[in-house]
Amino acid sequence: MPRLLPRRKRDTAAELPKLAPAGPPPEPENFLEVRDLTVHFPTDDGLVRSVDGVNFALQRGRTLGIVGESGSGKSVTSLAVMGLHGGTSARIGGEIWLDGKELVRSTAEEVRLMRGRRMAMIFQDPMSSMHPFYTVGHQIIEAYQVHNEVSAKQARAHAIDLLGRVGIPRPDRRVDDYPHQFSGGMRQRAMIAMALSCDPELLIADEPTTALDVTVQAQILDLIRDLQAEFNSAVVMITHDLGVVAELADDVLVMYAGRAVEHGPARTLFEQPRHPYTWGLLGSLTRLDRARQERLMPIKGSPPSLISLPSGCAFRTRCPYADRNDGREKTEVPQLLEIEPGHRTACHLDPGERERIWTEDIRPRL
């Protein structure tokens, strides 16, 4: 694993020698490629390994869903891609390649110039994510003007145009409203307008609909889908809601305690999941598209503390099948291995055994 990099606000290329040299650039079609990403936070209680070796690649026009519970590291991963851990105590390792440029080894200024222009982000709570003292228009204009030399008039016209495109009625008037004058759904639309102001090629949406009502959620998901088709951008959708993932994602990455436990095409993941944690998530769901189950099948216990993870497989304390591995689960961290083309899992259990458990025990009860 590469050495950890303390990122400071003023870090320059000269201050970065501790990091091992990056590997070869990825295939050109992979617009975003994350290799062995680690994000660690030293605290008084110990090292918090929020993200511990995550790999994925994403092409233009495709959507990757990252699923996990709180503390799984899904948001920390996306903030690392955006370079938004600057100024914190985060130590970032690994490689993040965006369109052939490695970001972990770039200066803060280089990453800043890409932020908002080539990659943009939408956050969960549109109320607290917008500055209460500035008009919606001002906040969009600001995002546009950082990266574009345009007059105030042009920028304003652009903001109005964007608000219209994300479905805000009468954008020429609403542009001068403050965030608190917008409804929750409109605020999220405005956030999206802000993120789209410079036509980014990568859009990261972190729980974009969690704070919204279902009917508004449906509108926003539709909007993201339409905009993606229009701009052919790569989208990373971070959510705890398997329903949202199923609606949008082409590929899904399931995270648990800072690691990827399963990764594959969305249909495969929902139809032939091969990791006990994914089964647990599916078993915990109340869903409208199936007959009502008498009982749900939750995962026992709660997620572990990131400071003192269980040795070996982090999921073993909650996994009903942990004792079938002759003790390997306590000593060895399971690697994310391909069990069929494009489908990777991190589990000690024999893949054949897992297939059997899924088809015989789990699926019939969902």
């Binding site: 519970e69 329903g243 998530l281 109340t286 598209d289 216990g301 304390t317």
Partner: protein, 436 residues
């Protein structure tokens, strides 16, 4: 921190109880009877802070909750569902209407008269973080109801609290710990233990699982289930999540802008929703099945929920409804029983049975003066079956359907027929070990 190891999954209470099927017994007598319930909040503005308007948060609710059943109250934010729950708990004074609890009208009782009754209805809150006093130990928190009501349980408060902790899947040793030492799910269990301390008859749960992680949600849902069958509790569950409500409730009421637009038995509501709003709401729920992504018909409602300060006249949904006609803007549809135990407030309900039993047909309700329509009469009043559905002719274009929903309900799939044998497994949810 006490993670994993002890934090119980499901509780063992179900073991003692009768088999699942029997626990869903016939609901008993009416425990809570709500009539004409209203809550209006004044809005003040201007120089003198005069009353400039009114937020009609809850605007005329009638419903019953029978003993031993679970009534689910669903709706989007601002529909008044939480306000309703708080009024039933009398944490909030109703502006109008009556709430009968076991035959006594709570709204007429003074605070002093109410206090002894409080032990019979308890509340579980959404955010287990903020509803537990961080300075008190778990023992103090769960034991507080005993002290407030001056009840000394057999064997003392401490023993009773420890039993309660065990009941909700925590360890009795957690007695002296503080809330911050627990995870979110465990904190919600503490809140549940507190609510159950005095063995209440009614438990009002306001978004009991929405702040929790998915896997923990399922644990808490199962726990609430088990406790209901063990103690014969009556629940009022308030939630925005339609699938959680479907799982937990026997009957479901859908609210929109302070009114109930549809109320029916669970299976009935989810298999044939009749109010267009319910239909739209259900179609908007994302389905965790990528295979159905393309084939699914969805109704996308345009715009936002109107302000409850100035709700649309007559039918409040008409501004967003794709079936709205002129009558919807002038006459408020009464909440009428269109089919057995299925009340709907709509002039043009969906999924109505037709005489020849054909699939999709939309009935044109003959407008009757609101006062003339008695409950149950509504169904007869809609004799005329219209061949051309009025759907696409929405005059004002305020709302448009993105896709017309088909009648086949999203709820029933062939899976319904699949055997449910594994469900009968003992209460512990340790996934069954297949025969080696």
């Amino acid at each position: 921190m006490t993670e994993g190891a002890r934090a119980g999954d499901d509780v063992n209470v179900a073991q003692a109880g009768e088999p699942e099927a029997a626990s869903r017994r016939e609901p008993g007598d009416v425990l809570v009877r709500v009539r004409g319930l209203r809550k209006h909040f004044p809005i003040r503005s201007g120089m003198t802070r005069r009353r400039a308007g009114t937020v009609k948060a809850v605007d005329g609710l009638d419903f019953d909750i029978r003993e031993g059943e679970t009534l689910g109250l669903v709706g989007e934010s601002g529909c008044g569902k939480s306000t309703t729950g708080r009024m039933v708990m009398r944490l909030l004074e109703p502006s109008e209407g009556t709430i009968e609890f076991g035959g006594r009208d709570l709204t007429r009782l003074s605070r002093g008269q109410l206090r002894p009754l409080r032990r019979d209805f308890q509340m579980i809150f959404q955010d287990p973080q903020s509803s537990l006093n961080p300075r008190h130990t778990v023992g103090t928190i769960v034991g507080l109801p005993f002290r407030l009501q001056k009840v000394t349980p057999e064997g003392g408060v401490k023993k009773a609290v420890q039993e309660l902790l065990e009941l909700v899947g925590l360890s009795p040793e957690h007695y002296n710990r503080y809330p911050h030492e627990f995870s979110g799910g465990q904190r919600q269990r503490i809140g549940i233990a507190r609510a159950l301390a005095l063995r209440p008859k009614l438990v009002v749960a306001d978004e009991p699982v929405s702040a929790l992680d998915v896997s923990i949600q399922a644990q808490v849902v199962n726990l609430l289930d088990d406790l209901q069958s063990e103690f014969g509790l009556t629940y009022l569950i308030i939630a925005h999540d339609l699938s959680v409500v479907r799982h937990t409730s026997d009957r479901v009421a859908v609210m929109y802008l302070g009114k109930i637009v549809e109320i029916a038995d669970r299976e009935d509501l989810y298999s044939s929703p009749k109010h267009p709003y319910t239909v739209a709401l259900m179609s908007a729920v994302p389905v965790p099945d990528p295979a159905r992504r393309e084939s699914r018909d969805r109704i996308l409602l345009k715009g936002d929920v109107p302000s409850p300060m100035d709700p649309p006249p007559a039918c409040r949904f008409h501004t967003r409804c794709w079936k709205a006609q002129d009558i919807c803007k002038t006459q408020e549809p009464p909440l009428a029983e269109l089919t057995t135990r299925h009340q709907v407030a709509c002039h043009f309900p969906e999924n109505m049975p037709t005489e020849d039993g054909a699939g999709e047909a939309v009935l044109l309700a003959k407008p009757a003066p609101a006062d003339a329509v008695a409950a149950g009469e509504g169904a007869e009043a809609v004799a005329e079956t219209s061949a051309e559905a009025p759907a696409e002719t929405s005059a004002d274009g305020a709302a448009e359907p993105v896709a017309e929903s088909s009648t086949d309900s999203p709820a029933e799939t062939p899976a319904a027929a699949s055997p449910k044998a594994p469900d009968e497994a003992p209460g512990k949810d340790t996934p069954p070990t297949p025969a080696p």
